[in-house]
Structures are given as structure tokens and as C-alpha cells.
Symmetry: C2
């Protein structure tokens, strides 16, 4: 494994990529809205069956020309990773509703993000699923480790749940506590819309062996291998 095989080059001109991203991004956003609508709908079962049949037909249209495997991570002409399949931040992943509209903001110590977690992210009634909070924190921590430390993949993640997190807006902060090049320790906190601390977390990120020698030649923010 090396970085060149980790990423897949996409050297389309920037304007073509922008048009692709806008078009595919709109498709994904439409699927997100459909996913929430079908969770909450109370229409009669005949309508449900008709809509189901129409969705299947649309799926078949999209499957007429398709990528053989998972999306992977592209590297655009500007050297910025295009991890459009990523579960948390992928432009083309409907699960990634959270960070897609609320991009991560980097600072000199780490990263933060404010995002909206709606009904698809429910665990206890009216509250965000604890595992979803682990999911979004893991992504943010990886981004913070890449921006403020050595980057790499998650080695250990510890989450302390202080109280339930109501569905709605959440704010996450992550900062690099220490970094020695190979290992980066990140700490962070998650607050609900009322400003209550609901989750504290700590993560250890480790640069994969195969990436160590090559990593310095890549922009820091590309070093989150998730």
C-alpha cells in the first residue's frame, strides 16, 4: 500500500468537477430528503406500494452505468481529497447529511463543526443515537488530528456520555492534545442546542506504517485517512 494507490486520481478540469459535484450533490440531497420523508410518512399503504415501485425503477435507471466497487477516495487536480463516499462527510452519501451542509471548520488547534441531526439519527425517543455521536465525533477527531498533528487512522476512541443529546443542532469541538508524528491524541466535547455538554471524548490517531515516509509530501489536511 502507498499513498498513490490509496487515492484515485481524478484530473478532470476544475469546472467539470464542479458541475459533476453540483449535479450529483443535488441527487444525494434528494435521496436524503426521501429517506426522511419515508421514515415519517403516514400515507396509505397503496400509495406506499406505488412509491416503492417507482423508487425501484429509478434505482434501475441509475444502475445502467455504475462503478464496480465502493467509491474510494479521489484526489482532484488541486491535490484535495474527494472522499465523496464517506459515511460522514461524503458529498454523494445520503447518510452524510450531518456534515455535508455544515462543513468542518479547522483552527490552529484542531477542528469544530455545528450540524443538524434529524429523525434519521434517533436512538432513544427524541434523542440522537449514542453511536451516531460516536460516528460524527470519530470523523471530526480524524480531521483535527490531520490538521493539528500527524494524522492517521483511529487507534482508540473513548466516549463519555454525560446526558442524552436531543435531536436537533449539535456543536462539536476537537483539539490536538499532543502529537509526536506517529501518534496524535485528540480531545473533544459535544454540546446540544441549549449549550449543555452531552459527550466528552478522547481519541488516539496513528499514522499507518506505509504512509509515514510519504506523508510529509502531502498537505496536512489530506492526512485523515478516513
Amino acid at each position: 500500500m502507498d499513498l498513490a494507490s490509496f487515492f484515485r486520481r481524478n484530473d478532470l478540469p476544475a469546472e467539470d468537477l464542479a458541475r459533476e459535484d453540483a449535479t450529483y450533490g443535488a441527487l444525494t440531497q434528494a435521496v436524503r430528503e426521501l429517506a426522511e420523508a419515508q421514515l415519517l410518512t403516514t400515507v396509505d399503504l397503496d400509495t406506499v406500494q406505488q412509491v416503492t415501485a417507482e423508487i425501484r425503477a429509478l434505482t434501475e435507471r441509475l444502475q445502467t452505468d455504475t462503478r464496480p466497487g465502493a467509491f474510494g477516495i479521489e484526489l482532484g487536480p488541486d491535490e484535495v481529497p474527494r472522499n465523496h463516499g464517506n459515511t460522514v462527510v461524503g458529498l454523494r452519501n445520503p447518510i452524510a447529511v450531518a456534515l455535508a451542509d455544515h462543513p468542518i471548520v479547522w483552527n490552529d488547534r484542531g477542528a469544530s463543526a455545528t450540524l443538524e441531526l434529524g429523525p434519521l439519527y434517533e436512538g432513544p425517543p427524541g434523542c440522537v443515537h449514542g453511536g451516531v455521536l460516536a460516528l460524527v465525533l470519530d470523523q471530526l477527531f480524524g480531521e483535527a488530528a490531520a490538521a493539528g498533528g500527524g494524522g492517521g487512522m483511529t487507534g482508540r476512541l473513548t466516549l463519555s456520555y454525560r446526558r442524552p443529546t436531543p435531536l436537533g443542532q449539535i456543536t462539536m469541538d476537537a483539539w490536538v492534545e499532543r502529537a509526536d508524528g506517529i501518534k496524535t491524541v485528540v480531545k473533544g466535547a459535544l454540546h446540544d442546542a441549549d449549550g449543555n455538554l452531552t459527550v466528552q471524548a478522547e481519541g488516539l490517531f496513528i499514522m499507518p506504517r506505509w504512509a509515514r515516509e510519504q506523508a510529509d509530501s502531502w498537505p496536512k489536511r489530506n492526512r485523515n485517512f478516513e
Copy 2:
């Protein structure tokens, strides 16, 4: 808060509930397949735009009659929770592809599950997002705590990632290490399709104060409040 307000009663006859579940479950499955197809499609942008418009129209049909808030958790006539909105196991949640087709199996020490994590769950290229593994383990641990201990909500979760987990089939096991009624400690492990240990985890589950007095009157497996 008490258990009666935590759950919402649904006293439709069992056969009506079964018909609803089959019909809505098929709708959700169709949306799951659409979500993956739109991630991987390489059809031309005109087709993408046409499909996007048709998806929006279907969303509007479903929104003509809709629940005002999140799904919550219903309690059916047999006292079994119907957490159909749950991000990991919800029958009506397209994100919940994982456990929907591969139900959790309980044993006398905890619970286990074998499931398939496809391209929508990608983090590093070809591998499952570390946060997704935290998400599914959190759910399984909660179920194990409910079945073998006191149950409750996640208080702390620690994940140790031993190696990347390739996309595909994974197997998770969770067992109750100790339980004192209020606190339950669960340990577990996750293996990839080749049988490699990829994640070890430990969780502390705490019965909420409001639920303690009432919990004994509920079947054990109802006590996972996620």
C-alpha cells in the same frame, strides 16, 4: 419521564401491524438500494438531473400525510418495542441496512450479530468507517446489556481499533462482564470476513434514574433505551 411516556402505544391488531411493517419495510429497502445506486452510478448528468426531479416528486407524495416529529419508539400489543426509526436497527430507517436483514441473536451472556457493510459505510478506501463500527457496536452492546444485565443507556464506550476492517461481512459479539442492577459492563469484539479481530470494545451502560423503579415490570429485552 416515565416508561409510559418513553414509549408510544400502538394497539393495532397484530395482523395489521404485520402488513404495515411489510409494506413500509419494502419502501425503506427500496430507498436503501437507491442510496447505494446513486452513490455508485456513473450515468450521464442529464439522467442524474431527471432522476433527481422524480425523486423530489416522490418525496412530496410521501409528505402529503406525515408524522409531525421524529418516529420515537412504539410499543406493540405484545409489549415488544417497535423502534422503527432507530439508526441501526430501525425497520423504517434506510441507514439501518446493517442489522435490518441480520437480526441480533441473543444468548445467555449477551448478543451477537453478523451483518454486511457495503459502500455506504466506507471511510478509508475499501474499509468500513471507524465511526460506523462504533455505531453498530454501541447498538449491539446496548442490546447485550439489556438481555444479560440491567440495561439502560450508554455511559461510556471505549473502542480499540486493531486493524482496518474491509467492507463486507462483519461479525460482532458482546457479552456482559458484570452487572449490579444500575450499571452493566459489556465487552465485545468485532471480526472481519476473514476472521481477523479488528476492533475490541468495552461499554458501561447505566439505567436512567427515572426508569429504575419501573424497569422490573418490563421484559428484559425491552430495556435497551436506544
